[in-house]
Amino acid sequence: MPDYIAWSPEQAVAVIAAEADKEGALMPILHALARTFGWIPDEAVPLIAGILNLSRADVHGVLTFYHDFRRSPPPRHVVKLCRAEACQARGGDALAAHAERTLGQKIDAHAHSAGGHENVSLEPVYCLGLCASGPNALVDGRPHARLTADRFDALMAETVR
């Protein structure tokens, strides 16, 4: 699991200020917050809006548009399983069903930490660019290719616990 620090408005302001002078600074700011804290609480919205001189609605609109930004605290581990066509053609659906069964949760982009294994969130990703070697996944940001049910189980035993 990446080393995130606990949410703090003071730290957040420092992170935002460090990016604020860039052209089109909002995306770099959101990424920097996500990298630092692992999530972007709604509390961050007025801080960003104030520094960039935008309306809260604008910032909220951007924050919620993109799949990547988490708005609740991150789970300990994130498993992103590729669900796109080239991985489907290589047995991705069967692996997805196996992963859902063993982790006791549905693959869901928005249910971070909901149900099932309390430590893991099982999420979809649409292509990792490893499409000749699927099925593929990112586990806590690390890529894994040619996954089988057995290799998936071994990986979970190693990382998730």
């Binding site: 089109g24 604008d58 993109y66 990703v125 660019g129 499409c131 000749a132 070697s133």
Partner: protein, 519 residues
């Protein structure tokens, strides 16, 4: 002197265990008190032999692959450091038929050089394009690109030279070069391989674009699913600044050009150029209506060249060797080479750069070796999630923009995804609609709502509910999406859906399609 080895640092090789292989090699070398140096090259692009370990010998580089971490001790014991025979020894990689039959213009250095070594880049022909561009001057550079016949590799196939000419002729204090590295299409990875395996080539291409149109600032917008590419580009940009490829007075000229990396955030639609520009501006990725064209009013309302990675990566070669060297490859109005990406259930998956004109059947069966599962190939999706599914009866289609369009398909970014006979084409059609629903930017109703109705309708067909009526409804829906969508996400989703229905009606409960025999 220490022994030099090459083990790719490319994301796919790492996903297959390349980092652990490096660790194991270091341990074995230490046991033998040998000094080794491991270069993390890009992948040469044949993934069934990755991780490919190469040893530098007097006769050239000798490869072993695929080498998994647990293979290393035995391989070293068998004489890997000396290039000794072994079942996993593939010999000189460039002599493998898969590589030997390619025409690598854009991918000439990939897998061979150290991607982060600027000296290596220059020693292998890098910077020749920029230097010639600086001698020629802006107008002549635009003319070279026009004459090369290069068409945009991101999907639409628009002539790159015309785009540059428009931006060059548009007045503006500040102009931009934006590189579209969103590469969201399933089955594609050529952009990723360029950025990880030969990043200076992309930087050089962007700098040449800047010189040509009078832009001093560039951005490369990379999808967040490509963390290795982000790091590789950031490092290479730093080096390029130190070495005078970026910054003030590039290459000792009067021109200035600098660039930065920006990261996407998991939205497929941000690959659409105007949505990408919105995202770069810090907004939601809503597609803009055109006109105005980005060439007139692009990033922050300023004249902007936006090109795919492969379009910009082709530029250094065109400038270095002259437009004719590039233009003389290809067929019809598709000039030059295309880095085709062989993906899905295929034996020889990887990157295959070749002049336009090769048939789909040759790509899949001869070069690709057919399905990896050993079963018959049933369908091939070309051009990503918005591309059509072709049956083997259409395998005589040559790789050419117009030839694919004539058969209700598209080349797109040249991803070729192979499915064997276990594929359920109704399921694939359903996925196309579902993907559209998940990724729609929400601006137009036919895309936003139509795709959700599409999923429901296909579910009803699958359940055998009012089949005939629902098939008519599905076709109507596709028609409406095609005509009523602002961009190709809603507008082209009908391609995979309708092609599945047309070529594989039996999966929708109908009689088999008549055209089956050809392959």
């Amino acid at each position: 002197m220490s022994l030099r080895l090459y083990v790719p640092g490319d994301m796919c090789s790492v996903a297959l265990g390349a980092d652990e292989v490096c660790g194991a090699l270091a341990i074995e070398a230490a046991k033998k008190s040998m000094s080794i140096e491991i270069v993390r090259n890009g992948s040469r692009g044949l993934f069934p032999i990755e991780p490919l370990v190469e040893i530098e010998t007097a006769e050239g580089r000798i490869g072993y692959g695929p080498v998994f971490p647990e293979d290393v001790p035995a391989l070293v014991a068998a004489g890997l450091f000396e290039g000794a025979p072994h079942a996993k020894r593939v010999g000189k990689p460039e002599e493998l038929p898969f590589f030997k039959s390619q025409t690598r213009l854009t991918f000439a250095r990939n897998g061979i050089t150290d991607p982060q070594s600027f000296d290596d880049y220059v020693a292998h022909g890098g910077m020749k394009g920029l230097n010639r561009a600086l001698e020629l001057g802006p107008a002549a550079v635009v003319e070279e690109v026009l004459q090369s016949g290069l068409r945009g590799r991101g999907g639409a196939g628009f002539p790159t030279g015309i785009k540059w000419k428009t931006v060059a002729e548009t007045k503006g204090e500040q102009k931009y070069i934006v590189c579209n590295a969103d590469e969201g299409d399933s089955g594609t990875f050529a952009d990723r391989m360029v950025m990880e395996g030969d990043p200076f080539m992309l930087i050089e291409g962007m700098a040449i674009a800047g010189v040509a149109v009078g832009a001093t600032k560039g951005y490369v917008y990379i999808r967040s699913e490509y963390p290795f590419a982000v790091t590789a580009m950031e490092r290479a940009i730093e080096t390029a600044r130190e070495r005078g490829l970026l910054g003030r007075n590039i290459g000792g000229s009067a021109f200035s050009f600098d660039m930065d990396v920006r990261m996407g955030a998991g939205a497929y639609v941000c690959g659409e150029e105007t949505s990408l520009l919105e995202s770069l501006e810090g907004k939601r990725g809503l597609v803009r209506a055109k006109p105005p064209l980005p060439a007139h009013k692009g990033l922050f309302g300023r004249p902007t060249v936006i090109n795919n990675v492969l379009s910009l990566a082709a530029i250094p070669y065109i400038l270095a060797e002259g437009f004719a060297a590039y233009r003389d490859y290809g067929m019809g109005r598709s000039r030059g080479t295309m880095p085709i990406q062989l993906a899905g259930n295929i034996k020889n998956g990887g990157l295959y750069e070749t002049p336009f004109g090769v048939t789909l059947g040759d790509i899949v069966n001869v070069i690709g070796g057919g399905a990896e599962s050993g079963r018959p190939v049933r369908a091939v999706q070309v051009g990503g999630p918005l591309g059509a599914y072709f049956p083997p009866s259409l395998f005589d289609t040559p790789f050419d923009y117009e030839a694919f369009a004539a058969r209700d398909g598209l080349i797109g970014h040249a991803g070729v995804v192979v499915f064997d006979d276990t594929a359920d084409m109704l399921k694939q059609a359903r996925f196309a609609m579902e993907f559209c629903a998940v990724e729609s930017c929400g601006k137009c109703t036919p895309c936003r709502i139509g795709s959700i109705r599409g999923v429901e309708t296909i579910d009803k067909i699958a359940a055998g509910e009012d089949r005939e009526a629902n098939l008519v409804l599905l076709e109507d829906l596709c028609h409406t999406m095609k005509l009523g969508s602002l961009c190709a996400l809603g507008g082209f989703t009908p391609y995979p859906v309708m092609s599945a229905l047309t070529h594989f009606p039996e999966d929708f409960g109908g009689p088999k399609a008549r055209l089956e025999a050809a392959e």
